[in-house]
Symmetry: C2
Subunit: 140 residues, 2 copies
């Protein structure tokens, strides 16, 4: 993972805002693909290729912004377990990245069934981490 030029002196509220921004973009890219996998909207290869590339390109960005000192400073759904179980959190992050890279690879083949399976696998990785490390309500 290449650090994206992160500063050691970043303000906690900026780190929180940044990781929320990345997650917002991730959610917007993943949403339509989930709907396709669930058969709610038609499968569209171009959208899948584009959106899975977005995910694969930015999914590693938030992790470094969960640095010590960014536990609070603005409303956040980040569980304090992220910092007390940082190795387990990192394992989740690695799995999500692998699943996103796999989806981006499979997307290019246009094999609809394989793509939908890869979408499901990524969705499971997201959910697994959210279940453990994302609070239901934002805390301060």
């Amino acid at each position: 993972m290449v650090a994206a030029g992160a500063s050691a002196q970043v303000k906690p509220e900026d780190a929180i805002g940044y990781r929320q921004s990345v997650m917002n973009v991730v959610g917007h890219a993943f949403g339509p693909m989930i709907s396709m996998a669930q058969g709610k909207i038609p499968y569209n290869k171009d959208v899948v290729v584009k959106n899975s590339n977005v995910l694969d390109t930015i999914i590693d960005l938030p992790w470094t912004s969960f640095a010590p000192g960014t536990e609070k400073g603005a409303p956040t759904k980040a569980s304090m377990k992220i910092w007390s179980e940082s190795e387990k959190f990192k394992e989740h992050a690695d799995k999500v990245q692998q699943a996103a890279a796999n989806l981006a690879k499979v997307a290019k083949t246009g094999d609809e069934k394989a793509v939908k399976t890869a979408i499901g696998e990524l969705g499971k990785s997201c959910k697994s981490c959210h279940d453990d490390y994302r609070l239901k309500e934002a805390r301060n």
Copy 2:
């Protein structure tokens, strides 16, 4: 430009939040490269390749979220001229995308001088659009 599965029924506040999120990620990716071009931090090819790829991949995402009906609904610095001069705004957007694509291409060569020139060109494109279409203070 591939529409990233945008819904026609998106809420204005969600569109505003989404484009602000993308711009936040764009700013975080571009910031270190500007500092490199200005000689404030050392040139780092890995960061330039990574961050320019982030820019090139997501820079087209905000444009469709400036759809009619998303002029207001949450605090925004988006000038109303975006909607009254939508063709000119689109020209700016296209120039920014071209400059970002060029930077991502040049970044891979590792030619520091050419990279810094490409960073400067992208910076000019960003500024030109911001000067015309981004307000200094957020409005409601």
